[in-house]
Subunit: 355 residues, 4 copies
């Protein structure tokens, strides 16, 4: 209806999602400093346009992991999408299919990964959370391979998950019928028994967090390219690249893990510098419109992922909403490229950023 730009889905979403669930989706961790920083980082830089350039051969195609994507807008892994719409991840996958968007399915999806995979013919990656037991983790990988996912995205920045203060204050608790469909037959995390003097965090929750060894192990178990999601430090980026990781997602999980960490856009340039040109880098956290995508590309990303906007559009109008969202984002990006004088993504360099 009154959707004029991608961000309008955000404003509309609270009419379609019950307040507690909306707080869970929209909120960030802690005092939400990182959540705010994500948006402020995009607003804080400008675009330096060039004039009179011929853009009539323009397009938005990008190459990623040896494949050509029609546009650099990926659908980020978002858990439990039935919170937003009964059709959940299946609707999202249909939208991905309709818009040639690469879909990243979450480990914590409400529908089995096989069903999601079947719903889109396009590129799809599987986002992997390490499980308490290695056999569970491996089982997920094997299923993802079998279902035709083309890459693994290992998320490493959210070892301890807890709803945000905002969600808690809104009284959010996960509804009983919203469950991690992929993990029905696996040990659930967080079941550690502590002895006296031990810390719930260090010896408890974090005992299941992946380490460098775990990452190396999983890379040895699969032929799929492995990306790592949640990178913010140049030294980590460099180490990951050195150990053969196929690409990185510069991300702070949309401000949903440790509050106080930097905007991912702020971290992007030094990570690009650390890994050099040509190495696959994605960015998410804070993308709200086409010019944000332009800025991310200009500062070194090959593509971006969309988290909350995707959920909002899903809540408002299911597959149609998500497809419309992607269409709007593409148009906004194209308009931005056209008016800035960049016919293709490759033309969007740091020179187009105004500070």
């Amino acid at each position: 209806p009154g959707i004029q730009c991608a961000q309008d889905y955000e404003a509309l979403a609270d009419r379609f999602i019950p307040a507690p669930a909306h707080a869970y989706i929209a909120g960030g961790s802690g005092q939400e400093a990182t959540l705010r920083a994500n948006l402020a980082a995009f607003d804080g830089i400008g675009i330096a346009p060039r004039l009179l350039r011929d853009v009539t051969a323009g397009h938005t195609r990008v190459k990623l992991l040896g494949r050509e994507l029609r546009h650099p807008v990926l659908l980020a892994p978002v858990a439990f999408q039935t919170l937003a719409h009964p059709g959940g991840e299946i609707e999202t996958a249909r939208a991905a299919d309709a818009t040639d968007s690469c879909l990243v399915a979450s480990t914590l999806s409400s529908f089995p990964l096989e069903d999601i995979a079947r719903a889109t013919r396009g590129d799809k990656w599987f986002q992997l959370y390490f499980q308490p037991r290695r056999e569970s983790t491996l089982d997920l990988v094997r299923r993802a391979e079998a279902a035709g996912f083309g890459a693994l995205v290992v998320t490493v920045d959210a070892s301890v998950q807890s709803p945000s203060l905002r969600a808690r204050r809104a009284g959010f608790r996960m509804p009983d019928d919203v469950r991690p469909a992929n993990l029905q037959h696996h040990v659930q995390p967080g079941q550690v028994t502590l002895s006296g003097g031990q810390s719930l965090i260090f010896q408890g929750l974090m005992s299941e967090a992946p380490t460098w060894d775990d990452l190396a192990w999983i890379m040895g178990q699969t032929a799929l390219p492995v990306l790592v999601k949640g990178v913010l430090h140049a030294d980590d980026a460099h180490a990951l690249q050195a150990m053969g990781v196929a690409g990185l997602v510069v991300s702070n999980h949309g401000g949903r893990t440790l509050d106080g960490i930097p905007a991912s856009l702020k971290a992007l340039p030094r990570i690009r510098e650390a890994v050099g040109a040509g190495y696959p880098l994605l960015l998410d956290s804070g993308i709200r419109g086409g010019s944000d995508i332009f800025k991310a590309l200009a500062l070194g990303a090959d593509a971006v992922m969309i988290g909350r906007l995707q959920v909002y559009a899903l809540a408002v109008a299911g597959a149609l909403g998500v497809a419309h969202l992607v269409k709007l984002l593409r148009e906004e990006l194209e308009l931005c490229m056209a008016l800035a004088g960049c016919p293709t993504p490759a033309d969007i360099t740091p020179a187009f950023i105004e500070r």
Copy 2:
């Protein structure tokens, strides 16, 4: 009535313009970051005054394209002025006549350029938008020459035109009786047919956008001096100067094209540096009072253009309003010059800017 300063016309205007049209005029593109940046840029710098200087021989005369203007306040090209006042551009031209202001008539005027030209004896320039077909463009130029316009101002930053989000949300659509009088007999833009996989933006709308070649071509067709409006990058400025353009308007179209581009005031000093002293530079976007004009002159502009204030004053009181506005702006500028210790525009140098 209660008009104490030029900017008061802004506050008053919404009583005289219907809300949707007001949103169209006042709004900027996108989230209006550039619109806000325009104002913030002026507020963000100060004036460093000097004491005890004799200013009794003071005046506001400036030389531009070999002509002496009585003051450096030009009336920017503003489309469809009947939106604000039934007398539209004719009223504005009368005000220009009464106040010795140089008028810049838009391609998209509600009245034919010939009528506008007849309404003022003073300096007048014609703002040119490239048309889908070269013969249409050339026809406009020939008519402007014949009507006595003294220069062409080619606007190059608004190849894709669309109302702002603000305007859309306010339900604005161009009234049926508001039409581009100069273009009645020409092909309208935006009629391209796309094949599958083509982009509405790149292969559609932008197929009619002017390029360096088009600019060179039009310069070869006319003896009028050609200025280019919408310049923000020093390298573009330098290239335009090199190809023989007669002067530049440093402008972001009042924040109405690509949102996120810099305030024109911010771009001004580096453009002045790129083109050197003596080359004609105008600035618009964000001028709201006499001290803004002072700041623009100090940072390298030879003169400024007034967009929205002009429309507001037109809406409030027609030709009288616009004339009064110019008078107020001049007085505010003179007061600023006097108290800063600058008797003439030539005295207003960067040394008078406080950071």
Copy 3:
């Protein structure tokens, strides 16, 4: 009553002054950018305290023009004080007397300078506005000399006087019975006749503004030390010192002249640097409490002047109010000195400023 700190007089004053007059007093020129900058400049810097120092021999005495003042808080020249209190400048002078404050009487006082002089036994200076005719100016000087004023403060930053936008919007006009008592028999300013094409500002109002020559002339006419008020530029400061001016008031007239000029506190350090140590420098504009005085002294002022707070206290409680205000300011300054570890004004150096 509920006065806990000097600034509380500000909050209370609007109950004692009619709204239009209050707007006239409180307001600044234009959009009040300089007015705001004055306050922000003090808030923007911090104090770096030192510990465990013995301050039991502490005091606030300062030397100025060869005289010792008991404290560095002067009462700034403020015109037409009967606007705030029927007793006007006489009440203020009594407060100066009671608190050993140096009083600076304005040219535009509601009572004759002789009456004001009689009301205080303490130090007093006369603030001089140049008059349309030299004989009027000289007459004022002779009367000030005869009345026992110890110095002239020539104000040079307010050649064109006009009420602020805020005052105009509040409908302020000077009441008929408020008149410049010192100027009853002199030609009033602003009576110039303009010929066509001349500017009201340049050839009109500014024709009576003092220049370097006028300043030199008046210095040749009197044995009184001459200070200049309204200095913001280091080069002006240096030139004034070179021509024999006895001291400077770094001031922007409380944000009442040209809007957009810098906070006087911001200008202070470079002016101190330009004139060197030992040369008398005062500062006003924005002082609202004892720690502001501390900061001004730390950045190079020998003393400060209080404008609006003085008027507010006068309005609230006449001489008693002004005396109480000075007492509060002194106590606040002393507390600040004590807790910062500075027993005397001479100890307050830039090392005590935290940035």
Copy 4:
């Protein structure tokens, strides 16, 4: 009830503390610039996390003055705790006992220091205010030694105590039954008689303020380690270290002494630089959550002290509240360490700070 994070005690406290007393506790001195700066300093810096690190051997233990504390959260000295809860300091001490927190008892406690000491088996220090007479001061020290306090914390930044403007405006006065239990038999401060021309501050209140000599004297009188609280300047820190002080508390007294002094967090890095590695440094003022503790440790503190939060939790739920608060702060700190990749306090270095 709805306590989700440590800071929630702040929001809840005003339902448990009468408004005037709340204003006294919550307020800062003057215009509260330092109070605001304390919070802004923490918000103004970010955390730079590292990935995939093994933190399963993590803990929060720190060494201080040769003792191992289970966590770096100390309870700051807070006067007159019966204002917040009838059980006052006894409740607080019980919470310290239950949570293995080091308690710092104020000279101005509502209960005698001996009773407080008895209420906790854990580490405890005594905060010393110098008294008008040396024998009173010495008597306090002897009693603290006898009661088993393990260190003296000499507070040197609050020689002149006065309620804040906020407290005054709220009509706060110390209730009659709230008295400094430790000082019942001693001369009260502030009883100096002044002669004419003397200053209430310099010759009055400050005559009892401690100097370097007083500090040296008290250090010669006791075998207890002496820390100094209220240090903000690197040179003072260096001098204190040089004279044998056992450690420093970088603090501005929670913004309750001189308004306008810097945030203690801002002062911390240069003080750490001045004293070198290994020298005991604590920080307080502005700690509101676990990530603030993390930031303080990263910038050079060995431990932190909690002022207002402690009082708020005490008011809300007595000993239980304070114990819960400490538990929350620890958990928040541990989560922050875990997600940032720091298993122990020693791992938290400046490299984990993002600017």
